[in-house]
Symmetry: C2
């Protein structure tokens, strides 16, 4: 076992919220945003093993402190087990800034914060990419499926393509520097599991061809910084039509975003959050203003984030 002298304290990390699926990449595409995410603080523990000392909530409470049930603890545990350090005395505080069930990768954010913090504390035995199996395993605790389209961008930052979820083969795609994301979270409840079960297990070959053309073009647009191509390609023909009904007034919100000149607009992850990509902050703010006014009339609370595409992913600070 490593010596305490190799531990790094104080150790405080931040792991950002993420937008998965990104209209054209169901289960294989995601990007990180700024301004919202979970935090973990690490201390040397007083008893052997990993312990969750405290969870601070920004909204609704209710997460387990059991490290086998809490994704932050579980991701950390998996990492420690891989090193034979499961008896290492470690205490973590989870600062749960993100509400749960938003479609913004709340569980991914906690999982990444947990594993990343412990990796930093242990003086980085793993690279960021090597943490992926631990955090994806933990993510599976939360939504029952082994997929990295939230955890990978949360960890690595930027726009991340997951070639293959089973082997965690992930590729960072460049992004167009100027673009802004506008992310809208209406305060209604959708469970990821429900949002998955609503999806038909089959699609038509025609839908596949159309969606593939848009995915390919979206990626090419990112490499070429081709905003016109991005505008033509950012459209979900498969998942959005099935899930839109779960989100109150989705069609109207999308109409507002496109009227205000978003390049495209769709559902973030399993919803209810939605995202748009825009040419600049002004466009994003115009969307924010109109969407807030609209939802206010409908007596639905919502939170809007306007953000660059986060380049760093999880950071120690």
């Amino acid at each position: 076992m490593s010596e305490l002298s190799k531990r790094r304290i104080p150790c405080k990390v931040f792991a950002p919220a993420t937008v998965a699926n990104v209209a054209v990449g169901y289960d294989i595409l995601g990007f990180a945003i700024d301004g919202i995410g979970d935090e973990v603080v690490i201390r040397k523990g007083s008893v052997p093993g990993l312990v969750i000392n405290k969870i601070t909530y920004n909204s609704k409470k209710g997460l387990s402190k059991d490290i086998n049930k809490n994704v932050a603890g579980f991701a950390g545990l998996k990492l420690l087990e891989s090193l034979g350090l499961e008896k290492e005395p470690i205490e973590i505080d989870l600062i749960k800034n993100m509400p749960i069930g938003t479609g913004l990768g709340s569980s991914a954010s906690s999982a990444v914060a947990g594993a990343f913090a412990i990796n930093e504390y242990l003086n980085m035995p793993y690279s960021k990419k090597e943490l992926l199996p631990f955090v994806t395993e933990a993510e599976k605790l939360a939504d029952g499926s082994y997929h990295a389209d939230n955890v990978a961008p949360c960890l690595l930052g930027g726009m991340v393509l997951i070639r293959d979820n089973a082997t965690l083969d992930v590729i960072k795609i460049p992004t167009i520097p100027a673009i802004k994301a506008v992310v809208i979270y209406p305060h209604v409840k959708i469970l990821t599991k429900d949002s998955r079960s609503i999806l038909s297990p089959n699609i038509t070959l025609r839908q596949h061809v159309a969606q593939s053309g848009n995915l390919g073009a979206f990626i090419a647009a990112m490499y070429h910084s081709d905003i016109k191509l991005l505008r033509r390609s950012l459209e979900d023909q498969i998942i959005e039509p099935q899930r839109a009904e779960l989100i109150p007034h989705f069609d109207m919100i999308k109409e507002i975003a496109l009227e205000e000149d978003a390049f495209g607009f769709s559902i973030s992850g399993a919803g209810p959050s939605m995202f748009g990509l825009c040419a600049n902050t002004m466009v994003a703010e115009n969307i924010e203003k109109r969407v807030k006014a609209y939802y206010k009339k409908q007596k639905i609370n919502c939170t809007v984030y306007i953000s660059d595409i986060n380049k760093e992913g999880a950071i120690r600070y």
Copy 2:
């Protein structure tokens, strides 16, 4: 009507063979190869209108000389009609180097040669991209479906992504300079229409996710010149398993190609041709040698082309 002084003679063009689908991009991806393609020669005609004077065949004969039935003539006719020049006296010779029904874009090659030659003859009223509607319309004559995954790379060269076939929204993707294509054409007959009808109209969402991951990674690999990623991504989980049975000994030929270190190996277009992408000519030649020997034992004739990815597409010479 324009004056004869604006006509360019002599006018002789070449339009290359193409590999469509490229494992990961059914109906939306194609590339051009060197060394095989159709040619068209243009002369001023002696009577009003477009006339096919002669078709020279390299293999089996049997194409119509009726400009409403011959794809080279039909593509040219559509171009002329768009300019109000359908009475222009033009005679074309079609040099049909490509056998028909190979899966190497034989009809696309003729269509592109026809329209490109007439455009050149008319002193280029259209850019290459603007010729796409005429050649895609002609391609539809041959296989009943409006799709540009052969005509677009044949015309433009390189690796071409078709975001949307209906609007002919095409994007040239960079290719990794060193890679070679090995293309194997076993001399057996498959009709494109049959090869389309064998395909199930539905796929699973899981297949879509897997194939999309590979498509995205394939495109990223091209931009990054990442040969390892290309190797991991060049795999067709949807079309190849359904069509492989139409091609004699497909599994064995693929096994040979992968044993000899092709990055990936799959069906070219609707088959029966197959293609592999390789790191260099040596790999391609090793595949050629073993495949030829194998097919010889099976008493099946085959032709093998080893080629760069053709960068130019249709050319006047």
